[in-house]
């Protein structure tokens, strides 16, 4: 997993709220002031429970959702800027750029392969459409060649170009989705649960293919998934989200060996391990209660209602996300001593 030390994408205090009709206040606080950077050629994994804001964060970075505040810097250029003031409110009117060139550079692969492909279009048309939007083919022949080349690259046959999505298995449909994303020669891809809908035996095929594409094309990934073992495998670093906030970030094997945030510790202890002897001896940290609603998140540390170590301070003050060991970040008052 080659990694250059150049930063391709950086987000600072990125925030996304969804207003709720008929209700005053900020609405659904889906992404709460998240900051991180991704090196060129790197894979950053993003994990956390359902509804914690992973998809929203991925889409907000691509500006498929308009951010509520913070900034997004792509390859040195701020593509969105609306810094937060001392009161935590965005300062003023957002500055942004024409997204068209970035739409090509930044792509997304979706969780549900069948729902993300138009059933009335052939696979060739689906891939061709992406090429046309960004005018990436010089001629008809060039376009056809590109389509064939892409199909081969993702492990499909060139004859597959004339078939419709429903004629493919889930794993093959996901390959089509990947071919479509690659058609526009992107640099950065948000992979939103790209393998969750696939059989175990097919998941590893797609993971390997994503890795091969990354090496060959120098791609940078934000890899969102539930399955921590796959995320650890594919990512250089992993970020852990809880209720809209990033609570921990670190090198992936280091984070697995040595999680420092109480929520990460819980999450890791809950992952069932495919090893019967190990699983008999493992101690689980079982959390009480449900994840609170992002419409009305707890004050202070958002994890305090379920954290076994919570103190009065945790209810009052939001812990700062900072670097505790080189490259290992977390937001927890316990670590501040």
């Amino acid at each position: 997993m080659a990694k250059e030390e150049k930063i391709l994408l950086e987000i600072k205090n990125l925030r996304k709220y969804f207003p709720v009709k008929g209700i005053k206040g900020p609405g659904v606080q889906a992404v709460q002031d998240v900051s991180f950077f991704i090196h060129k050629g790197e894979t950053l994994g993003l994990v956390g429970e359902s509804g914690c804001g992973k998809t929203t964060l991925g889409r907000t970075i691509l500006r498929l959702y308009e951010p509520t505040g913070g900034s997004i810097i792509y390859d040195g250029t701020p593509i969105y800027e609306n810094p937060l003031g001392p009161e935590g409110t965005p300062l003023g009117k957002a500055k942004s750029v024409n997204m068209l060139p970035y739409r090509r550079k930044m792509q997304i692969i979706f969780q549900d392969p069948s729902a993300s492909l138009d059933p009335r279009m052939t696979v060739g048309e689906i891939i061709g459409e992406a090429i046309d939007i960004h005018k990436l083919a010089a001629s008809k022949a060039d376009r056809a060649d590109r389509i064939k080349e892409l199909l081969k690259k993702v492990g499909l046959n060139t004859e597959h170009a004339n078939r419709y999505p429903h004629e493919f298995s889930g794993g093959q449909q996901q390959r089509v989705g990947i071919a479509r994303a690659l058609a526009v020669k992107p640099e950065f891809i948000v992979c939103d649960e790209p393998i969750s809908a696939l059989d175990v035996s097919i998941q590893s095929q797609v993971v390997n293919m994503l890795e091969d594409m990354q090496h060959e094309l120098g791609l940078t990934y934000l890899f969102i998934a539930h399955d921590l073992s796959v995320v650890r495998h594919i990512s250089n670093r992993i970020g852990v989200m809880y209720l809209g906030s990033l609570v921990e970030l670190g090198e992936s094997y280091e984070l697995n060996r040595h999680p420092i945030h109480p929520y990460t510790q819980t999450l890791l202890s809950a992952v069932p391990v495919p090893d019967p002897k190990l699983s008999r001896t493992r101690q689980r940290i079982v959390l009480e209660g449900d994840i609170p609603s992002p419409m009305n998140p707890p004050s202070g540390c958002r994890f305090h209602t379920r954290c076994p170590y919570a103190t009065e301070k945790c209810k009052m003050e939001t812990p700062v996300f900072k670097e505790h060991e080189p490259g290992h970040w977390a937001a927890c008052h316990l670590l501040d001593k």
Binding site: G171, Q172, D199, I202
Partner: protein, 337 residues
């Protein structure tokens, strides 16, 4: 899990065959499977999507949907012939002896009744003597046990007011409330977050220990299998290709499909990056299954005979059998020496 009371037979399935007669032809969804389940035993069923796991379970419950039909074999529960049950006998069997937790909870919760009402009715259908107040108390206890807060309020709510994960927990509560002797759980935790999944698995183990119920646990997740199962059936294209005690399946797999599955997952103890080894190829088209061994088109070890004849079972260890020509050969070699 439990050493006690695992000798007595609760369920015996013999050469069960289920087919769907569709306009395009016969789909042999379950192609002759056999197993025993003892009191207090947990059997995991793993396998690719479409391999027949759910249809097999539906046949025990008498819930096969047309055009699906049991076309052969037998199901014996505590000495009784389940396939010969009249409609009334089947209904009472389902109400009192077996319970099923379905893959999709919405299909079996009634949208027009409150959650409390449905739990109480399930209980009273089973135990005609229980008073309404006692039934309500039990229902609330059960809801608390599956990790639902605010039970008094929750009892009065309707299914649509619950999140997907909570509905699944209600389903689990419904399955467990009547203390069935056999619980069939079809992907009961797949839609849940790992922390909730951990809670539910602990709960199922606890109840199972107390009541000695047998559990058939259908899942894709080999981590869950390692955690809760005593033995495992591995299905591929409507057949059980390998069956054995959980430790044998994980540490001494005897079928290339099982080996492939285990190898294709990231290792738990990996300290650094290791490339995954996928099972190549695509799942079987059940309308046109291959002749001979169904795994042959994807098997690295495939021999000539594999393409012609389905391999018979070979005992490779105590209670451990595999349907693979390699094992047949090994056995023949052993007998020669």
């Amino acid at each position: 899990m439990s050493e006690q009371n695992t000798e007595k037979k609760l369920l015996e399935v013999k050469d069960l065959r289920v087919s769907f007669f569709t306009p395009a032809g016969e789909v042999k969804a379950v192609g002759g499977i056999s197993y025993d389940l003892n009191y207090g035993e947990v059997m995991g069923v793993v396998g690719e999507s479409g391999s027949g796991k759910s249809q097999e379970a539906y046949s025990i419950m008498g819930l096969l949907q047309s055009p699906g039909k049991v076309i052969g074999g037998s199901i014996t529960f505590e000495g009784q012939d389940v396939l010969a049950f009249s409609k009334e006998e089947m209904t009472s069997f389902r109400g009192s002896k077996v319970a099923m937790i379905f893959q999709n909870p919405m299909t079996c919760l009634n949208p027009v009744y409150t959650i409390g009402n449905q739990l109480v009715e399930a209980l009273r259908a089973h135990d005609k003597t229980i008073s309404k107040a006692d039934a309500e108390k039990r229902a609330m206890e059960m809801m608390e046990m599956v990790g639902i807060n605010n039970v008094e309020k929750r009892m009065k709510q309707y299914p649509h007011e619950f999140s997907g994960g909570m509905r699944q927990r209600v389903m689990i509560a419904m399955g467990l409330i009547c203390h069935p002797q056999l619980l069939i759980a079809d992907e009961p935790t797949t839609a849940l977050d790992v922390t909730i999944q951990a809670q539910i698995l602990e709960l199922m183990k606890e109840i199972q220990k107390k009541t000695k119920m047998g559990i058939i646990f259908i899942t894709h997740n080999l981590g869950v299998v390692a955690d809760i199962c005593d033995k495992v059936s591995v299905m591929y294209a409507g057949k059980i290709v390998e069956q054995g005690p959980v430790d044998d399946i994980f540490y001494e797999p005897a079928h290339p499909y099982t080996m492939g599955l285990l190898r294709s997952m990231p290792r738990v103890d990996a300290e650094s990056y290791e490339r995954l080894i996928p099972i190549e190829g695509t799942p079987v088209d059940m309308l046109n299954p291959p002749e001979g061994c169904p795994f042959a088109p994807r098997c690295e070890k495939c021999m000539k005979i594999c393409l012609k004849k389905m391999p018979p079972y070979v005992e490779v260890g105590p209670n451990h059998r595999s349907a693979c020509w390699l094992r047949v050969q090994e056995q023949m070699n052993k007998e020669e020496n």
